[in-house]
């Protein structure tokens, strides 16, 4: 298989304005932060972000004007830091659209795309205002006659997934929790893997079951050490609590956020080669 190792700059250049982008990881854990920083550097606009539960990456992209809608079940910094300030401000001012989901309807939508069908019936959702607010319709089971909510397919234009190990062909190993990353990789039109380290693919031959995402589904691989920072990356590093506290404080105000990102975020990632 061909060598897919790419610079972060060239990989993120394939993302076009107004596309739908799935981001791997969950809340403060193994999100593709370095890729999100590059989206800011390249000035992307109008993105729809897909994630079951997001925090730093989603909030940052909302605050920096990169994301204009968010399809997710939960956006927040959990009990450590509370609400996501820039996401919240964007929705309240109408610059960001909250395309609210239950996490399970994100999963169901990805599964529909994976299976090449337009929707996926999903259990539950009764009594919730979410289906009406989002225009999720119901279908009638042709066998029992019962009604069930139909989550529309979610086919991201690009899935960006940060992993601990990948070979140059994109065979990607996730250590610890995979979250929805495998589903995102299968549902998306294009897949970008960012990896803590590039490994010799021959090492996977003795244990191919550890590979979560097979290389043939991957278009580009980027070496990105500490690429989930300030989120945690299982087996590599923990979340950077001191930085996250500073980030959440800066995110309370758009001007402060822009200065903070300029001085403390975009200066952080190693220059890609």
């Amino acid at each position: 298989m061909r060598d897919k190792l790419t610079s972060m700059t060239d990989a993120i250049a394939v993302v076009a304005d107004n596309q739908t982008i799935a981001l791997g990881g969950n809340t403060l854990h193994r999100g593709p932060s370095a890729a999100a920083h590059e989206l800011i550097r390249q000035g992307r606009r109008g993105l729809e972000i897909v994630k079951t539960a997001g925090a730093y990456d989603v909030d940052l992209l909302c605050g920096m004007g990169v994301a204009s809608s968010v399809s997710a079940g939960f956006i927040g910094f959990e009990t450590a830091y509370g609400l996501a300030p820039s996401y919240r401000r964007g929705v309240e001012r109408g610059t960001v659209e909250a395309r609210e989901h239950a996490c399970y309807t994100v999963i169901a939508g990805l599964r529909a795309a994976i299976q090449g069908i337009p929707f996926m019936p999903v259990a539950g959702m009764t009594g919730s205002d979410v289906p009406a607010a989002r225009g999720f319709r119901s279908v009638v089971d042709p066998y029992s006659g019962r009604s069930v909510v139909a989550a529309p397919a979610i086919m991201p234009d690009v899935a960006i997934i940060h992993v601990q190990e990948s070979d140059r062909q994109g065979n990607a190993r996730i250590i610890g929790t995979r979250f929805e990353d495998v589903l995102m990789a299968q549902a998306a039109r294009r897949v970008i893997i960012t990896a803590e380290r590039i490994v010799d693919g021959a090492t996977f031959e003795a244990m191919p079951e550890v590979v979560a995402i097979p290389g043939f589904m991957v278009e580009m691989v980027v070496e990105a050490p500490r690429g989930a920072w300030p989120c945690s990356c299982a087996g590599a590093y923990e979340q950077d609590d001191a930085f996250l506290a500073e980030y959440v404080a800066a995110s309370q105000d758009a001007d402060r956020l822009h200065a903070f990102v300029r001085d403390h975020v975009l200066t952080h990632d190693p220059v890609s080669v």
Binding site: F74, G76, T79, L83, C103, V130, A133
Partner: protein
């Protein structure tokens, strides 16, 4: 005086049953500790599930983020979040712990928005999995670290999720849902019945005959201190939306 976080966590723990499957999601330190406490007390065969996909982990340090990789430690198998929603969808998840920024008298929750949904006064995080889990889990235990009329309301601004709510645990009391409506089951020690009524936006009845929540035992307090020496449960009082 029993710390409210202690009383709530112990009350939540006691509601769990031995041998059942129990799940918590993001932003859920109290549910995490309640499950770990139940496994050490009356429910050693409870199956502990969470968003990391770990099963019955033995964390040596508790994360404040309840999706943290600390919750992988000691797990002998790993499933995905999709697997856990599927488990609930087919009726095999016994108990789910969920929260709400607003809770109404039927035990329905709002975690979406305060004010007009389209242009909200406060955009909240969203219900995570609750709209899918509340109708499908065998039972739902809600908890909320604020018990006031802004949290326990007559009318929700938006119904994020509704379903099989069984109990609601607050710093003041435990509600039980009977015939579709929340009623006070017990009031925590030291809390006046009229405080519960005055702090609740929907109609509830209490009187001198209302039960008092059994205070934590010495064993529960000792185990709680062992499980959560840094009091991650108290983080919920700092940031609850």
């Amino acid at each position: 005086m029993i710390a409210p976080g202690t009383m709530m966590t112990v009350a939540m723990s006691r509601l769990l049953r031995d041998g059942e499957t129990a799940f918590h999601g993001v932003a859920s330190p109290m549910a995490m500790v309640a499950i770990l406490l139940a496994q050490r007390t009356h429910a050693p065969n409870l199956v502990y599930l969470n968003i990391t996909g770990s099963i019955d982990p033995h964390p040596d340090r508790l994360p404040i983020s309840t999706v943290g990789p600390e919750l992988l430690r000691g797990s002998r198998a790993l499933v995905t979040l999709a697997d856990l929603f599927d488990l609930s969808a087919r009726g095999r998840l016994d108990t789910a712990f969920l929260g709400g920024a607003q809770i109404d008298g039927q035990g329905r929750i709002n975690l979406s928005a305060i004010g007009d949904y389209a242009r909200p006064k406060v955009r909240l995080p969203g219900g995570a999995g609750s709209a899918a889990l509340m109708p499908t889990a065998g039972r739902v235990i809600l908890w909320r670290t604020k018990h006031d009329r802004r949290s326990f309301v007559e009318r929700l601004d938006f119904v994020t999720a509704a379903g099989n709510v069984d109990r609601v645990v607050t710093p003041l009391c435990v509600f039980i849902r009977r015939d579709g409506s929340l009623a006070v089951e017990s009031i925590h020690p030291g809390v006046a019945p009229e405080t519960v009524v005055a702090s609740t936006g929907f109609a509830v009845e209490t009187d001198a005959a209302t039960a008092i929540t059994e205070p934590p035992t010495e064993t529960e307090l000792r185990l709680l201190a062992e499980i959560d020496p840094n009091r991650v449960i108290d983080s919920e009082f700092r940031t609850s939306g």
